[in-house]
Amino acid sequence: MDGNGRWAQRRSLPRSAGHRAAETTVIDIIEAARAVGVEWLSLYAFSTENWNRPGTEVDYLMRLVRRVVRKHAPLLLARGIRCRFLGASDPRIPRELARDFDDLSVLTADNRGMTLTVAFDHGGRRDIVEAARSLIRSKTPADEVTERLFADHLPFPDTPDVDLVIRTSGEQRISNFMLWQVAYAEWVFPEVLWPDFRAPDFLACLHTYRRRARRFGGVPPRTNGDPS
């Protein structure tokens, strides 16, 4: 969800206007993903580093997120979307917002349509550190730690490996996003800014992804001259 600030700047609007415009995109993309049968959708809403932004902008974001969550809760429930919030552990998150996060997760916990993970106050490294802590606390012998076991100690261990990451506005960085799960993810970097990103752009990204040959470190399954 990059480019809200630039979007506003280009229109000579305050940065907050860009964040407000992002709401439409969020809902549009959720609908589009659900319609094409995506089962796991994650949105990177706020990183642990975003706390470094000016206090007023952070405050504004918190209020905006709260309003968006409350406004769309019935829709998410009705659409059969299971919502959950990855991270969201910082005490700086207003208590009322944390409460709404909990409420929305409880409310939609039984939905089976699509799982929407909102990474809020998320950092990939922190998740890995958390998993390590949890492993040590459970007194797992060092020899028994495997990748699989390690993954079981990450927050939301049922999250599968990420297939595709879309990063808007032309930025080409990982920025500490779900580091463990993106190990073999495909990346797409559309130039469009997030407030302008719409369902057709999303479908285009999916299309790009489908044309890619995913090798997971192996060799391409079929090369020239191979009889099979």
Partner: protein, 489 residues
């Protein structure tokens, strides 16, 4: 007043499943009638004073309801031995209640005239409930029911002399008491205006405080208005209760609607299972608990939705709420909360002897104690009370306020409290084996041994028991088996 001769022995066939009383047991109208009867009882100055001092119905109404219900069932049941035993227990319980009201008038829960009034309000409310719902009782049924209630009184008091023998005289007696003796007591006001507005959630609704509060905000004032409108006119006038336009219609509508439940298939409404389910805690090992847990999950979702749908009133809607207990879950409860939930059983904001007596009463009821164990338990609690008073009552007014408790940084675990724990252990250990086995444990806590309990070979030793009791009582630990016992509403 004539002296009644109806002894419990020759009137026994009046009781049992055929009795008029049993017919009302599962009647939803009975709930409304019971509230009305309780207000009429509380309006009697003696009973009102006793209730205000001793009763736990403000702080723990659901536990109180359950105990009353079980006791009534024994009293009106078919088994004469059980009835006699229950009557003896009730008499012992009430013998411990006496004192004086705020104006210095003495009350005594054993006073015969007062006890007759309790029975009279129950009978009159049952008759009125039928009248108000448009299905008045015929004369024969009324006579028979009156005989039942007189026998009930006789079972308690030895004879029913305090109630007129004849039904016609009863109405004169009733009207006279209403017109001359009833007052606008504190207890009656509490029931009418405070109880329903602050009714704590029963165990079942514990996880859904928002839902409970929302329902209560609607139902509380309605129940109050319905009850006020159903009280006898002379009392309403004397007590200065409001006459709200439409309240009478509302009241009759409520009774009528509750009366319509008779068209439901038989067995749909069963007071006993309703009360039992309400007081189930989800952690218990009752087979119904799983259904209840599922139900609670639904209710949690409903209240989550309710909260999310509540419109934001600007950004200033930040009511000071305790932080969500999920997450770090500190096992130490605040001194203030412990005072309110456990120590202040009567809910008057002070800790005094009736609070501790209520604890002893609850424990004795659970363990179904007879003499002399019951007295030993009460004595142990009384000794603890003296110890507490000596240490904590700094302003010397004979009771301990929440503030006095908080500033003293609870050092409650003195020798007298240890003695209470020991007496409780011995009372629980029915077979005197020196350990508490699974059955004995279940009698006290209504649940099986806790998993991480420090049990050795399936029993609970004395030192572990005493230790757990002390750490609960000094507010050091929460989530003990004692929580549902003494802290639940």
């Amino acid at each position: 007043m004539t002296t009644g001769t109806t002894g419990p022995a020759d009137a026994t066939p009046l009781f049992g499943p055929e009795s008029q009383f049993s017919a009302f047991f599962d009647d939803p109208r009975w709930a409304l009638a019971m509230i009305r009867a309780t207000v009429l009882e509380a309006a009697h100055p003696q009973i009102g004073a006793a209730l205000a001092d001793n009763s736990t119905f403000v702080a723990h109404p659901w536990r109180r309801l359950r105990n009353t219900f079980l006791s009534m069932r024994l009293m009106f049941g078919a088994d004469p031995v059980a009835r006699e035993r229950e009557a003896a227990r009730l008499n012992r319980l009430h013998a411990r209640m006496s004192g004086s009201d705020s104006r210095g008038r003495a009350y005594d829960a054993m006073d015969r005239g007062t006890r007759a009034w309790v029975v009279a309000t129950l009978f009159e409310s049952a008759v009125t409930m039928c009248r108000l719902s448009g299905q008045p009782l015929d004369q024969d049924t009324m006579e028979r029911m009156y005989a039942e209630y007189r026998t009930f009184l006789a079972a308690l008091d030895g004879d029913a002399g305090a109630l007129p023998e004849d039904l016609n005289d009863f109405w004169r007696y009733f009207d006279r008491v209403v017109e001359t003796e009833l007052e606008n007591t504190e207890a009656a006001r509490v029931i009418l205006y405070r109880l329903f507005d602050h009714l704590p959630a029963p165990a079942l609704f514990e996880g859904a405080p928002t839902l409970w509060a929302a329902g209560r905000a609607v139902a509380g004032p309605l129940l109050g208005a319905v009850t006020v409108a159903s009280l006898p006119e002379p009392y309403r006038r004397r007590a200065g209760l409001p006459e709200m336009p439409g309240a009478r219609t509302l009241m009759q509508g409520a009774y009528l609607a509750a009366g319509l439940a008779r068209f439901l298939p038989e067995g749909w409404i069963n007071a006993e299972s309703i009360i039992e389910v309400l007081s189930l805690t989800p952690g218990s090992d009752d087979p119904r608990a799983r259904t209840v847990t599922a139900l609670r999950a639904r209710m949690k979702q409903a209240s989550a939705l309710l909260r999310l749908l509540t419109p934001l009133s600007g950004d200033a809607d930040l009511t000071p709420e305790p932080a969500p207990s999920a997450g770090t879950g500190s096992s130490r409860r605040s001194a203030e909360k412990f005072f309110r939930q456990v120590l202040d059983q009567t809910g008057d904001g002070h800790l005094d002897w009736p609070d501790l007596a209520a604890m002893a009463r609850e424990l004795a009821t659970r363990l179904d104690l007879d003499e002399p164990e019951e007295t030993r338990l009460y004595d142990a609690f009384a000794a603890w009370w003296r110890e507490l008073q000596a240490v904590l009552d700094t302003d010397g007014d004979g009771r301990i306020s929440a503030g006095e408790y908080a500033t003293a940084v609870p050092t409650l675990a003195g020798p007298a409290l240890i003695r209470v724990a020991e007496v409780l252990f011995e009372a629980t250990d029915k077979d005197g084996s020196g350990t508490i086995d699974a059955d004995e444990y279940r009698t006290l806590f209504r649940t099986a041994f806790h998993r991480d309990l420090t049990t050795t070979d399936g029993t609970y030793g004395k030192s572990a028991f005493v230790g757990d009791f002390l750490s609960f009582m000094s507010g050091r630990r929460t989530n003990t088996p004692y929580d549902p016992l003494l802290a639940d509403a």
